[in-house]
C-alpha cells in the first residue's frame, strides 16, 4: 500500500510539472505587463524597468522558469508584489480560510443530504422522494450569485441574524458555508438516491435479506456502504474543487479565501502568486483524489489501489 502510494505520488509529479508549465505559460500569455500593474498610471519607463528587474521579468522565459522551479524546490513559492509578502504564507492563510467554510459547508451538506438521499432512494416514488428530488434539482439550477444575494437579503438585511460579510466569529461563516454546501448537498442527495436505487436492485441485497436481516438494517448498514462508493468519489473531486475556493461566494461575502486571492492575483498579474496558486490548487486536487482512492480501497476492497 505504502509503496503504491509512493508510486502514485511519483506519477503525480508528472502532473505537477505539467501544471507548472501551463501555469507559467498562461500568466505570460496574458496581456498586461505585470510591472505596469504594480505601478501608478503615471509611472516613468525607468520605474517600470526597475520593477521588471525586481520581478525578474528581464530574464528569458527559460531562465525564469528554471528559477521558479529552483525556488520551488527550495520550498519558496515566490513573492507577491501585489500583496507585498511571500506567497507561501499568503496562500496558506487564504487556503485555511477557504478550508473553514468548505469543511463546514461540506459537513452540513453531508448531514442533510445523506439521510435525504438515502430515504429518497429507499422510498422511491414517495412524496419525500419527490421533495428530495425537487430540492436536488433546485440546488443544481440555482446560480450561486443569486443564492448568495438572496441569503444576504434574508438573513442579514431582513432578519439581522447574521453578519453580511467578513471574517470573525462563527456567525460570519454560516452564510458562506451554506452557499458552498448548497450545490454540493443537492449533488450528493441526487447521487446517493440513484446509487441507492441501483444497489437495492443488486442480488446481494436480496441475499442479505434472505439471511433474515431486517429491512432497516439492510438499508442503513449494508446497502448504504455500497451506495456511498460513488459519493466518496464525487465528494473527493468536489472537495478538491471547493477547496480551491469559490470565487463568487468569497467575493460576495468578502471572505478572504483562495478563490478571491486567485481573482486578485490574476487581475493584478501577480505572476509568481498565480503560478503558485495554480500549483497549490493542483496539489490539492491531486491530494484529494489520492485520499479518495485510499478511502475507496478501504471501503471497497475490490478496487486495488494504483
Amino acid at each position: 500500500m505504502f509503496k503504491k502510494i509512493l508510486r502514485r505520488l511519483a506519477l503525480t509529479l508528472i502532473v505537477l510539472v505539467g501544471v507548472t508549465i501551463i501555469a507559467f505559460a498562461l500568466v505570460r500569455l496574458a496581456p498586461g505587463d505585470p510591472a505596469v500593474q504594480m505601478l501608478p498610471a503615471t509611472a516613468t519607463q525607468e520605474q517600470i524597468d526597475n520593477m521588471r528587474t525586481r520581478m525578474g521579468l528581464d530574464q528569458s522565459y527559460v531562465v525564469q522558469y528554471f528559477m521558479y522551479i529552483g525556488n520551488l524546490l527550495k520550498g519558496d513559492l515566490g513573492y507577491s508584489f501585489h500583496f507585498n509578502m511571500d506567497c507561501g504564507p499568503l496562500i496558506l492563510s487564504r487556503l485555511l480560510n477557504t478550508a473553514k467554510i468548505t469543511v463546514i459547508g461540506v459537513i452540513i451538506a453531508l448531514i442533510i443530504s445523506i439521510p435525504l438521499g438515502l430515504v429518497a432512494g429507499i422510498k422511491r416514488g414517495s412524496a419525500l422522494d419527490t421533495c428530495a428530488t425537487a430540492f436536488a434539482l433546485c440546488g443544481q439550477a440555482m446560480s450561486p450569485v443569486w443564492l448568495c444575494l438572496l441569503m444576504i437579503l434574508i438573513f442579514s438585511v431582513g432578519l439581522k441574524w447574521l453578519p453580511t460579510q467578513g471574517v470573525g466569529s462563527w456567525k460570519n461563516m454560516v452564510m458562506p458555508s451554506l452557499c458552498v454546501g448548497f450545490a454540493f448537498c443537492s449533488l450528493v442527495t441526487r447521487m446517493l438516491r440513484s446509487s441507492m436505487i441501483d444497489v437495492l436492485q443488486e442480488e446481494y441485497i436480496t441475499a442479505t435479506r434472505a439471511r433474515g436481516v431486517s429491512k432497516f438494517q439492510v438499508y442503513v448498514k449494508y446497502a448504504f456502504k455500497n451506495a456511498i462508493l460513488p459519493i466518496v468519489t464525487i465528494s473527493g473531486a468536489q472537495l478538491g474543487i471547493l477547496l480551491c475556493g469559490s470565487m463568487v461566494i468569497e467575493q460576495i461575502f468578502n471572505w478572504p479565501g483562495l478563490g478571491q486571492l486567485t481573482v486578485t492575483a490574476i487581475s493584478s498579474r501577480d505572476f509568481q502568486l498565480v503560478q503558485s496558486i495554480l500549483l497549490i490548487v493542483a496539489v490539492i486536487m491531486v491530494v484529494c483524489n489520492l485520499i479518495v482512492d485510499i478511502l475507496y480501497t478501504f471501503i471497497d476492497k475490490r478496487i486495488s489501489f494504483n
Binding site: V19, S143, V145, W146, Q201, I266, V281, A282, M285
Partner: protein, 284 residues
C-alpha cells in the same frame, strides 16, 4: 435501444417530457422573440431607467417585467439573453461533445501510448479548476462570446472524453466488436458503426446535464466580468449586472434568475428523463 422502443419509453417518462417541453417552449420563445417584441433590447432609453413592471395586464407594449438600469425592457432583454445563453451553452456542449467523443473514442479503442498521453493531459487539466483556467484564458484572449465558448470548451471536453473512453473500453472487449473484426471490418468503420452508437447514450445524458451546467457557468463567469460583453444581454450577465439592484429594483435580477433556474431545471429534467429512458436497468 431502437427508435420504437425509445419512443414508447419516452412517452412514459414524465421527467423527459416536461424537460423537453420546457426547453422547446423556452427556446421557441427566445428564438422567435424578434417576431413579437416591441422594444429594442440594446438601445438605452435612459428616461425609463428602472421603470417598475407593469404586470402581465400591461400587454406587450408595456414593460411587463419592468426596465433595467439602462431603461431597456427586461422582457426583451431576457428573450435575447436567453438566445445568447442557450447559444453559448449549445455551442459549448456541441463542441465539447464532438471533441470529447472523437478523443475518447480513439483513446478508448486503440489504447496504448495515445491513451496514456491523453489521460495525463486530462489529469493535468483536471487538476486545474475550470473557472480558474477560464479566468486565465479570458484574460489572455479578452471576453467575447466566441472566446467564452472557446474557454468553456477547452475545459469541457475532458469530462466527455473520460466518459466516452471508459465506455469504449468496456465495449471494446464486447463480443460484437470482436465479431466485426472477425468479419474483417476496418477499425474506422468499427468505431463509427459498432462502438459509437453504443456510447452515444451516456454521452447524450452527460451533454444534457452539461447544458444546464454551462448556463450556470456562464453566469458565474459574468459575475467575474468574464462573460458576454455589454450591451448584448445574457442571463448570467443580467444577473450579475443587476445584483446592485436586488434590493431596490429586484425585477432586474429576479426575472433572469428565475428564467435561468427554469431552464437549468428543464435540462436537468431532460437529462434525468433520458437517463431513465436509456438505462436498460430501469425497466419502463
Amino acid at each position: 435501444m431502437n427508435r420504437k422502443d425509445f419512443t414508447r419509453r419516452m412517452w412514459k417518462s414524465k421527467l423527459f417530457l416536461i424537460g423537453l417541453a420546457g426547453i422547446l417552449v423556452i427556446a421557441a420563445v427566445c428564438f422567435l422573440s424578434p417576431l413579437f417584441v416591441q422594444f429594442d433590447p440594446l438601445k438605452a432609453e435612459l428616461t425609463n431607467r428602472l421603470a417598475a413592471p407593469e404586470g402581465i395586464f400591461g400587454g406587450l407594449s408595456k414593460h411587463i417585467f419592468g426596465c433595467d438600469p439602462m431603461g431597456r425592457d427586461v422582457l426583451t432583454r431576457l428573450l435575447l439573453g436567453g438566445r445568447t445563453s442557450l447559444l453559448i451553452a449549445f455551442s459549448v456542449v456541441l463542441i465539447t461533445t464532438i471533441l470529447g467523443l472523437i478523443i475518447g473514442l480513439l483513446a478508448g479503442y486503440y489504447g496504448g501510448i495515445a491513451d496514456l498521453i491523453l489521460m495525463r493531459i486530462c489529469d493535468i487539466m483536471m487538476a486545474l479548476p475550470t473557472l480558474l483556467l477560464a479566468i486565465c484564458v479570458v484574460a489572455v484572449m479578452g471576453s467575447s462570446i466566441t472566446n467564452l465558448v472557446v474557454v468553456l470548451s477547452i475545459t469541457g471536453w475532458i469530462m466527455v472524453a473520460r466518459v466516452v473512453r471508459s465506455t469504449v473500453m468496456s465495449i471494446r472487449d464486447c463480443e460484437y466488436v470482436k465479431a466485426a473484426r472477425v468479419l474483417g471490418i476496418p477499425n474506422s468503420k468499427i468505431i463509427l458503426k459498432e462502438v459509437l452508437p453504443n456510447v452515444i447514450s451516456p454521452v447524450i445524458i452527460t451533454a444534457t446535464q452539461a447544458f444546464g451546467g454551462m448556463i450556470l457557468t456562464e453566469a458565474s463567469m459574468s459575475y467575474l466580468g468574464l462573460g458576454v460583453p455589454a450591451p448584448s444581454p445574457s442571463w448570467g450577465a443580467m444577473i450579475s449586472d443587476g445584483r446592485e439592484y436586488i434590493a431596490t429594483a429586484p425585477w432586474v435580477v429576479i426575472v433572469p434568475g428565475i428564467a435561468l433556474m427554469l431552464t437549468v431545471l428543464a435540462f436537468n429534467f431532460l437529462g434525468d428523463g433520458l437517463n431513465d429512458i436509456l438505462n436498460p436497468k430501469n425497466k419502463d
